[in-house]
């Protein structure tokens, strides 16, 4: 009887541990899977074309948007991210940590000057190398993803919006 009870306790403990481990690591595994599927280079932005049914890297793609996606790695120091937001169409810049959490977002209405410039660092912003005194964002993880969404409000604006899409750059400092 004692032996069965011991086995039951071990079974429950292992099951609970496995349950929480899977819950905990799933976001990071999903993120790694997306990076592997996308075959993109870290710290190099990828400029998407109009999304179609052929795009199967990320679930629930929005066909109304142009995207700029960049997997980042801050091991070698901070990154400077720049770009220009469109005058009227919706646009947002968002950052996701290694466990997929959207920890930062800024949209076109919050960027009235339309010029977008930030310093992304893993270190404390107070001690980060920031000679240009850019808005500084601290990433909670060394690796993560940057994503820009630009709404294609009218098909005739597509080419102009593609030019705007290409203004988003990522540079090592």
């Amino acid at each position: 009887m004692n032996r069965y009870f011991k086995a039951l306790i071990i079974f429950i403990a292992v099951a609970i541990g496995s349950y929480f481990l899977v819950i905990f690591i799933t976001p990071s595994v999903v993120m790694l899977g997306v990076k592997a599927k996308a075959k993109s280079t870290l710290n190099v932005p990828v400029y998407s074309d109009v999304v179609t049914h052929k795009d199967r890297h990320v679930v629930l793609p929005n066909p109304d948007f142009l995207y700029v996606v960049c997997g980042y790695n801050l091991w070698d120091g901070p990154l400077k991210i720049t770009g220009t937001m469109p005058d009227s169409s919706y646009c947002s810049f968002s950052l996701y940590s290694g466990n997929t959490h959207n920890y930062y977002i800024k949209n076109d209405r919050e960027t009235p000057e339309k010029k977008f410039e930030i310093l992304l660092t893993y270190d404390d912003c107070l001690t980060a190398n920031n000679p240009q005194q850019l808005e500084c964002i601290t990433s909670p993880t060394y690796m993560g993803v940057m994503m820009v969404r630009i709404l294609i409000d009218k098909p005739e604006n597509l080419e102009k919006l593609k030019e705007i899409q290409r203004t988003f750059k990522v540079e090592k400092l």
Partner: protein, 191 residues
Amino acid sequence: MKKYILFIVIVAGVLCGTGIAIYNIKYWSAGDATIVNGSWVGKNLNKVGTDRLLTARIAVSALFALNPKEVVYLIAKDDKDGNELTAENDYLIKGIPLDARYWSITLYDENYFLVPNTENRYSYNLYNVSYESDSSYLIHISSTRKNKNWLSAGNKGKFYLAIRMYHPEKSVYNHLNKIQLPVIEKVYSHE
């Protein structure tokens, strides 16, 4: 305890815990939703990042979702009568413009990807939907082409609809369970 019994107990524990975790991540029911409005359900994404189960669920079923300050996401898996949406039927979505800076209704297959179709049309939004004279709109979901506001769900299998509301008005945020959302009605069955 003999070593092989211990091994079996540990393997059984790992399989059980892992299986329950995967099931919990993958299959969340309307009962888990914090927003329920007709066919449309949604989750309060404020806790993504701190609520580990919710973070895992979003990573699997809505990766790169934005925080709710920016956008409200709602999903429909059933029609107004509570029956699963399937490509074997035709549906009519009847709605009025949503109170947001930008809104859209997008159709996804059961794996949450876009469905191939001859028009490369996967969604309608406030700019490209054709409105009726009373400012409402009707969107047809059918395997056969329609003249306007047509979305294809393919020929077979389940599908889902997603509403996105970017920068919704405060009244929308405060009454997500009550605002008037599009009604999804089955109009024809090919079976």
